[in-house]
């Protein structure tokens, strides 16, 4: 993978200079803080509005807060990752910046992999900022929760989001238009999420990673090791195909 290090360095600096890290981290943090706050103060907010229904809301639990956080990031995070990655290859080819980079002795694999690694870094840093804050707010406002289970849930969430990232990078390499790449990626991710709800086959698909994360917090339910293995394999296949497509592409 000739050129991986300088390309990765460039991609990492780009994440900072173009404020991608700030935006993604900011969004994750916003929802990270919002979830426990909303759960804690929802009865009071309802009471202030004069609605009697507030009295019927059961008191929130820490597990409920952390599961809701993962659910929100599992949806908003997918959208954010797709938006961040959909133009990553397509725009470089369309605007011509990739032409100068690829005229140097670097492999297409390094070009694709550097982008994936840099966006991984953005995702992981964003999660590492948002998750402890969510955990802190949850423990402080609502009550204690298992740290180990929450870390496990976040790791599974990260793998799921990396899968979304890899799918989007593949379509960004395939299509000239970043919008097309984003649209198709979202479509495929939604389809896979729907199929994940099916019995038997669903247990092998990436969507089950989120269920597994929730099971960890609840301390009950199944583990989905096959879903994890399949997800990692899909990530690898997507990245391989992305560099292959780029190698065959007329630039």
């Amino acid at each position: 993978m000739n050129g991986l290090l300088p390309l990765l360095k460039k991609e990492l600096i780009e994440q900072l200079r173009t404020y991608r890290l700030l935006v993604v981290g900011g969004i994750f943090l916003f929802f990270g803080i919002l979830t426990p706050l909303t759960l804690k103060f929802l009865p009071q907010i309802m009471k202030l509005s004069g609605e009697q229904i507030a009295l019927d809301i059961p008191p929130p639990t820490a597990i409920q807060s952390l599961i809701e956080y993962a659910g929100t990031i599992g949806q908003v995070g997918v959208l954010v990752m797709v938006l961040v990655a959909m133009g990553t290859v397509a725009n470089e080819i369309k605007h011509g910046t990739g032409l100068l980079t690829l005229s140097k002795p670097v492999t297409r694999a390094a070009f694709v992999f550097a982008k994936f690694l840099a966006m991984c870094a953005t995702l992981l840093v964003s999660l590492m900022i948002a998750s402890p804050v969510t955990y802190g707010y949850t423990v402080g406002l609502i009550g204690p929760a298992s740290t180990a289970a929450f870390i496990g849930q976040n790791l599974l969430l990260a793998v799921f989001l990396l899968f979304c990232l890899a799918v989007t990078i593949l379509f960004s390499a395939l299509f000239k238009s970043s919008l097309a790449a984003g649209g198709i990626s979202i479509g495929i991710i939604i389809c896979l999420a729907l199929v994940s709800t099916l019995p038997v086959i669903g247990g092998y698909l990436p969507g089950k990673l989120l269920t597994w994360g929730n099971n960890l917090l609840n301390g009950s339910g199944n583990s989905y090791w096959w879903a994890l293995i399949v997800t990692v394999i899909i990530i690898g296949i997507c990245l391989y195909l992305a560099q292959y497509v780029l190698k065959k592409k007329e630039i």
């Binding site: 300088p6 360095k9 100068l100 005229s103 002795p105 492999t107 190698k247 007329e250």
Partner: protein, 312 residues
Amino acid sequence: MTAISTEGLSKYFGSVKALDNLNLAVPENTVFGFLGPNGAGKTTTVKLLTGFSHPTSGKATVAGERVGGENLALRSKIGFMPDVPAFYDWMTGAEFMHFAGELHRLPSDKTRQRSAELLQLVELTKAGNRRIGTYSRGMRQRLGIAQALINRPEVLFMDEPTSALDPIGRREVLELVSRLKQSATIFMSTHILSDVERVCDMVGIINKGKLVVVSTVSDLHKKYTRSIFEIEFLEDARPFAASLQNLSWLADPQCVTENGQQIVRVRAVDMDQARRELPRLIGDSGLTMTRYELIVPNLEDIFMNVINGGNT
């Protein structure tokens, strides 16, 4: 030694022949001007030779390396400047040069030194620390040239290098190209004929995907010299033009008036005899001659002639 060679290189887009059976041999340390009207196949050729596009058939060698696949050895020996170089706007010019050096695996200190030299060469030293997003088109073009030279390429591909530049910028780039031919072979695609005339040693003219002519610029001039004499007189020259009518070594004498001057134009059938005899006939005519010239066509005339099928 040949720096660039192609054998039957062709590129079809469906039924459209963007490049048809290109056979070319460009010697080392030559500035090769690749001329053609828009859509003739110039950019397609450059993209094929730099490995950005895959040929439908044929093969090419650049700097001793076979073009095709992911040939990194080829990429380390060439420099490439596209017609509209696009950069990462958030980088500074100096950062981009450093990035280009790193991609070529140059040591950090050498990259820094070479970047500084090249930024100075293209007069971007002061602007080097500014974001590229703030650069004018001409500055981007100059940075495009600088980044293509970071690895001291054996072969430099330049696609329309002066198209976005003002006259001063153009002159500077052409002077730079002239200097570079000491150390590199330059393949310059362009449709600006005066640029070719100024810096190129060899020229290839392409039209509708087919290479029509390859020649040195001087041979091209010789080949297309039309052997026409223009003689300007103060007095009425029509009788003189008529007197040339029956000479077997001259043809098509005409007398025209331009800006109040009488001009006789005549084509030499036998050039040597015309060179010997015509001055004597002018002397014998008793007219006052103000100009005597053998018309040499410029590259634009030759280009139009070739494109319009004059070569075939």
